[in-house]
Point group: C2
Chain length 503, copies 2
């Protein structure tokens, strides 16, 4: 009775969309527990979580285990030699016809604290986003509602501790409403996703039974830019490459040697510039070979995805886009080659009149189904060779540098993986679409999300399917400084997880 | 008698070359005072001397005044509002037919201390260069000789405090030998050359009489790469430009937006790459227009300059040169366009999967006689516009960024100036060639040195000639980290200055 009244107070549009009883129960519960949810979340966000920081990673894992045990979920840490722990738990349901695995990760992207407006591991609430001149505000008193447009700022506020908090809060909510899962439920919270999940496959291989299920629900990434719920049936793969071009063995005075000594910054510029055409098409030979075409369902889903390009262009202050006129939703179903960063000598006040000695670029290539990460890197290396470069994978020797006019050091990061795409037509896919839409209204169904998640190794190790159920706002500054989560996205996420936990 | 014996102990090649009595006297005196000279030099090098560091610049100027007063030279500091002081002194010679002005500068290039092997303002002596695995060694005891191949490491050890020390030590040496100048002598030690001599012309304009002379001897830059004495009859001019290319207003996740959001690092690479052809020729329209051709004497001097390219290529670990097959000595008589530095987001361990928001390059253009610095920058800006860029000279607004697919911020540094070239055929030029060769043997006569010195403003303000008389070793890491001076170059410099002070 009380529940019904609370729901009746919500805007009509929400009422119309939300027919899922668990989601409705979650909303009612959340409205009574907003401060409690955020306090728990802030405590989790306050522990630094860069994957290489082993001591703090351990503190994160321990806290998550405590959070689960507090809820009566028996959690444990599973690791492989040298890995960060996966926090794992399983709740069996008698007579369950299937097993749902909820995956999130508790580690965050590396960062440079100097770039952050407030320290990354001291979460603050802002009235709006920093771009909207949002100011730091205190948390509302217990019992008072949060402004749904306010945002929590901290590393992993969105990517991906938000999902740990949403899943566990949803568990509270369904329990409080006397609802129960119909499937077996497993929780998998990884601790080194942002370091390329380098040990995940090893851990899964060693514990196949433990981690197996009918589907892994990948609770990572942002919702659609319209703030509509998205379902991602796959993710792009990734290969990351660092390349350094060599000039003279030391920086040279640009007056005494300019016009004569090769400039590695210019050589790098020429090499990078040659890799794509004006419209953003990658010119590396065979780059697009072997790509698996989209099915009719996938093409239809893409055609139905709202065109948000014009809004995004305004929001991001852009004068145009790279692959125009194709829209973003289409373009992320193609592979990409992106310069992540570039450095040579110094710029600005520290610049001096030198010819740099080296120039470095970091590149990521996003892969789609049908491409192999190692083959793609090999094609890039072949391409660099065809531009006249002698390519090495370690610091070149003096002899190598003297023997070749163009020397490039190209190294592949270990943290790559291939793309995965689950058919939208499978019964489990259709079930999930129905459940998500009953909680969150019409969804945007994406054959592939643009970001990369290590789906391939999960599917390979366990023979399971993977489907992405993101909750974070699209403008969360994920992977950059000033990462944040819009409070309404956390609320929506709790309702979504409640629906999925009881499907 | 003692002098003769000392000289007789030197290698025959030196004896043959050196017929100048003042230079001979300087050598004898130096051999008795090596530690005294270096101690004084180390004290001068220990004071930080970045032009923007006003307090330390003042301490440098004060110390140089003291060093001169100790020698009986009445020195004073001359400044314009807001300028660093020029240390000035004049020694009149009754009946002198001409006035020689010795110019050096006591400020040094900006630096990043993290790049230095030992702190830049804590001079150390090394047995050889760092590249030759030279180790830090103590100064020889007073009375013991320095290894002439050992090197002093400190900011401005070569550029350009070496010349202050060489000139004042030469003054000691000729005084000790009872020799006297035949010309009027003026000393001008500037304090903001590395900041573009932004106030020098103002100071000269306000003190024309004080600073005028028949020739300014510019004691800056390195000797020839064979270690032969060079005479530079001019210097390239310089124009420095910073350019920033803009992408989205914030860094974006390269998965969610890669292929769609413009990448400013790639745009910068394309723009820079388009500015030069494979052989290093600048492709900016009209870049080479109006250049004044070399005279027959200048062409002959260039043809006679030893070809040191093969040795240099080996020393610098190069596999080729930009303007091959033309040799270095020829190429520095052409203008150049050089990328000094390049930066966009992050590389290496701090790199993350983003599309950068901006990309910046710092460029210097070296100019030869007949080119105007502002016109050259205007031609560069025109070129950038023709590549489709909307060019601004301040941070572009959101509206400007949204109105144009390509936006570049291009700013010209204030510290540019044009090239100057003094005819080798003038009587004063011929006199100086004779004097220098009597002290240092056959010289390499360069129409233009590659580096830039503000000769133009000196000639314009005073109507004087300028000729370059460098002493530093060519491999001194000038303008970079680990700047150093080979001890033999300091000894040679003292002898050279003694000859010039008495010509």
């Amino acid at each position: 009775m009380k529940l019904k009244l609370l729901v009746a107070a919500l805007p009509a549009v929400c009422l119309l969309a939300q027919t899922n009883p668990a989601a409705q129960a979650a909303r009612a519960w959340r409205q009574q527990h907003e401060r409690q949810v955020v306090d728990e979340f802030v405590a989790l966000l306050s522990i630094p979580n860069i994957a290489s920081d082993r001591e703090n990673i351990r503190r994160n894992a321990d806290l998550i285990v405590q959070m689960m045990e507090k809820r009566g979920i028996a959690a444990r840490q599973v690791a492989a030699p040298g890995s960060n722990p996966v926090v794992f738990a399983e709740v069996r349901t008698p007579g369950a016809a299937r097993t749902l695995v909820f995956y999130a990760h508790y580690d965050g992207q590396p960062l440079d604290p100097k770039e952050w407006t407030t320290p990354p591991f001291s979460p603050v609430l802002r009235s709006r986003s920093i771009e909207q001149d949002g100011q730091v505000i205190p948390l509302p008193a217990p019992g008072k509602p949060f402004d749904p447009e306010s945002r929590l700022y901290a590393r992993s506020a969105s990517d991906d501790k938000a999902n740990v908090e949403a899943i566990l809060s949803a568990w509270d909510a369904i329990g409080a409403a006397g609802l129960k899962p119909r499937a077996n439920i497993k929780f998998v919270f990884e601790g080194e996703e942002e370091a390329g999940s380098v040990n995940l496959e090893k851990i899964l291989d060693a514990n196949k039974q433990l981690f197996s299920g009918d589907v892994w629900l990948m609770c990572d990434g942002p919702v659609y830019q319209t703030r509509q719920q998205a379902i991602a049936f796959g993710a792009r793969g990734i290969a990351t490459v660092n390349m350094t071009i060599y000039g003279a063995r030391r920086e040279l005075h640009s007056g005494h040697y300019g016009n004569w000594a090769p400039n590695p910054a210019m050589m790098l510029a020429r090499l990078l510039a040659s890799m794509k055409d004006d419209n953003g098409r990658v010119l590396i030979d065979h780059f697009y070979d072997g790509i698996e075409p989209l099915t009719d369902s996938e093409k239809r889903a893409l055609a139905e995805a709202p065109n948000i390009d014009a809004d995004l262009i305004r929001e991001l202050w852009l004068g145009g886009t790279e692959g125009a006129p194709e829209k973003l939703a289409e373009l992320i179903n193609l592979p990409s080659l992106n310069i992540r960063g570039m450095a040579s000598s110094r710029v600005g006040a520290q610049a001096s009149n030198v010819i740099p000695s080296t120039a470095t670029a970091s590149i990521d290539m996003r892969l789609v189904k049908g491409m192999d990460q190692h083959q793609t890197v090999a094609r890039l290396v072949d391409y660099i060779r065809r531009q006249g470069y002698f390519v090495v994978d370690a610091e070149p020797t003096a002899a190598e540098r003297m023997a070749h006019a163009k020397v490039a050091r190209v190294t592949e990061s270990r943290n790559g993986y291939n793309a995965v795409r689950t058919s939208m037509d499978l019964p489990i896919s259709q079930d999930i679409i129905r459940t998500v839409e009953s909680a969150r209204g019409p969804t945007v169904k994406m054959p592939t999300e643009g970001g990369s998640v290590p789906l391939e190794m999960i599917e390979r190790a366990l023979g399971t399917r993977t489907i992405g159920i993101p909750i974070a706002n699209h403008d969360n500054n994920q992977h950059s400084f000033n990462e944040n989560l819009r409070i309404q996205n956390l609320w929506d996420g709790i309702e979504l997880m409640a629906a999925l936990l009881t499907m």
